[in-house]
């Protein structure tokens, strides 16, 4: 591992109307719940199309209970007015929880609609190093005073080499700060966590990208953690191991499974082990909460069942 001194960690502030979450690689990890996303969820898609948004309340509750700090909201359903739906769901979710929201869409109009109704300071997901995407989304990020997730891929490819990804990060930082006046601490880089089952060199490459970003800029980073285990057995264990490893390379947040205790436990354990949880108080509290939940569940279980 490289011994270069990391740059000073930058802090990214995102807010709902009443709660602030600060992301920083010297702070406890920011868990962004991934579940409010219809991609690959056929039943959820059908419900949304039929106007039934009841699953959203259930998913919000489960993620809040699981320990999410922020909720990602994506409403990319084919043949649906995504802008209108995303704005509606964001307002709905803000009525259920005070967690800040990561507004997630590849459709520019949907991002704008979401930002226009959002109460607080959102995280926008996402831009890439593609000129068109930068031109379309960065003015919105500036206008609504948001933070933004940026992926180092361009129109030609998702580069595999860390060096090429770092070049694209450099471009994103330059354009966003110099041409659009966005503060560097408001750019959160997604260094591209790819499925390890499809290519076993990809984990090393992403970790090298992370170390490069931490050493050069000290910027915050996030990734779609569940991507890593696509097409593999033992997904929760793989995701948890990946998150803990990536945190040592500077990953400070992830869009991830916030409903599975073992995955969230992996990041909270890494928080403690990396010195981001003084006296282990968060780890101990988490243990007590789980113990209490287990006792309550046992008390409610039907008699005779052990």
């Amino acid at each position: 591992m490289s011994e270069t001194t990391p740059a000073t960690p930058l802090h990214t502030s995102i807010r709902s109307a009443s709660r602030e979450v600060v992301i920083g690689s010297d702070l406890p990890f920011c868990v962004i719940g991934e579940r409010l996303n219809p991609t690959g969820r056929r039943i959820f898609q059908e419900q949304i199309k039929a106007g039934d948004l009841s699953a959203i309340e259930r998913d919000v509750k489960a993620q809040v209970l699981g320990g999410a700090d922020v909720l990602d909201v994506n409403m990319g359903v084919p043949l649906v007015d995504e802008a209108e739906l995303l704005a509606k769901v964001i307002t709905m979710v803000q009525g259920m929880t005070d967690l800040p929201i990561c507004i997630d869409s590849s459709v520019v109009e949907a991002l704008e609609a979401g930002l226009s109704v959002y109460q607080g300071r959102a995280l926008v997901n996402s831009i890439t190093a593609e000129d068109e995407r930068l031109e379309q989304v960065l003015p919105l990020v500036k206008k609504y005073d948001a933070a933004v997730v940026a992926l180092p891929n361009d129109v030609d490819e998702i580069p595999m080499e860390a060096e090429k990804r770092l070049e694209l990060v450099e471009k994103i930082v330059r354009v966003a700060t110099q041409e659009y006046g966005i503060a560097i601490e408001d750019i959160v880089i997604d260094p591209l966590a790819m499925p390890i089952g499809a290519d076993q060199a990809t984990g090393i490459s992403t970790l090298a990208t992370m170390r490069g970003i931490r050493e050069t800029w000290g910027m915050n980073m996030t990734c779609g953690a569940s991507n890593v285990s696509f097409g593999m057995p033992g997904r929760h264990e793989l995701n948890g191991a990946w998150l803990a490893m990536a945190m040592t390379a500077g990953l400070s947040s992830a869009i991830m499974d916030a409903r599975t205790p073992s995955v969230v436990a992996a990041v909270r354990a890494a928080d403690l082990l990396l010195g981001h949880d003084e006296w282990g108080m968060a780890w101990i509290s988490r243990h007590r909460e789980m113990q209490r939940a287990a006792e309550e569940a046992a008390a409610q279980a039907p008699a005779g069942v052990s």
């Binding site: 056929r42 084919p78 499809a198």
Partner: protein, 221 residues
């Protein structure tokens, strides 16, 4: 070795993705005077079908599919020229590409493996394939089916753009159009006027075979 042992070995070693051994057995079979199509249709294709079935059941995982596909591809490099010489036809020609604006290809590559495993000849145009490129390559290769892949809701509209380009070129009826990718649904495929859609790689093979059978039943040979 007997021919039966070669076939058994080809099936078993392809199933576990042992590329070097599959290649040896292919040469062994040819040395015994076995027909290339026998090895293809009685060992390699059934083996990849088994891989697909296990993948669909959740018994096999992505790396196992990739190495089995690679093992078969190694054997095919030896067998393809021989099959061409003897005039053995593949079951169909499939032209595949990720649409313009989209650089995602993992799902598409899995589908390619399953199609090749089912006996299709697959021509992969890669990612970021523009409508005019699809048109030119369809003219060049004369495929039975063209597959458009998209991973983003923002690039899915390229399906329609591609189909419009086919219509404009007067080629829409010459080729079966299939679409797929993570956010794609049957409803969306219908809305853009595609002929077929499937949610996963095995489903794509079944749908492709069905579409081809229907098309061939209609068109007198």
């Amino acid at each position: 070795m007997t021919p039966e042992e070669v076939l058994r070995g080809l099936f078993d070693e392809t199933l576990v993705g042992n590329g070097p051994r599959v290649l040896e057995l292919t040469h062994e079979g040819l040395g015994l005077g076995m027909e290339p199509q026998t090895m293809l249709f009685e060992a390699l294709i059934p083996s990849l079908e088994e891989v697909g079935a296990r993948f669909e059941r959740g018994d096999f995982f992505v790396p196992e599919m990739l190495i089995a596909g690679r093992a078969m591809a190694g054997a095919m490099e030896v067998l393809r020229p021989l099959l061409a010489e003897t005039g053995v036809e593949t079951i169909g020609k499939f032209l595949m590409g990720t649409v313009k604006g989209d650089v995602h290809d993992i799902g598409k590559n899995l589908v390619n493996i399953m199609l090749e495993g089912a006996g299709f000849e697959v021509i992969d145009l890669g990612v970021q394939v523009a409508p005019e490129t699809f048109i030119a390559k369809i003219q060049e290769h004369q495929p039975d089916i063209v597959g458009f892949s998209a991973f983003l809701t923002t690039t899915m509209p390229m399906f329609k753009a591609n189909i419009n380009a086919l219509q404009k070129a007067g080629m829409r009826d010459d080729v079966i159009v299939m679409v797929g990718g993570a956010p794609v649904t049957q409803e969306y495929a219908d809305a853009v006027g595609a002929d077929g859609y499937a949610a996963d790689a095995s489903g794509c093979v079944r749908r492709a075979k069905d579409l081809l059978a229907t098309r061939r039943a209609k068109v007198p040979a």
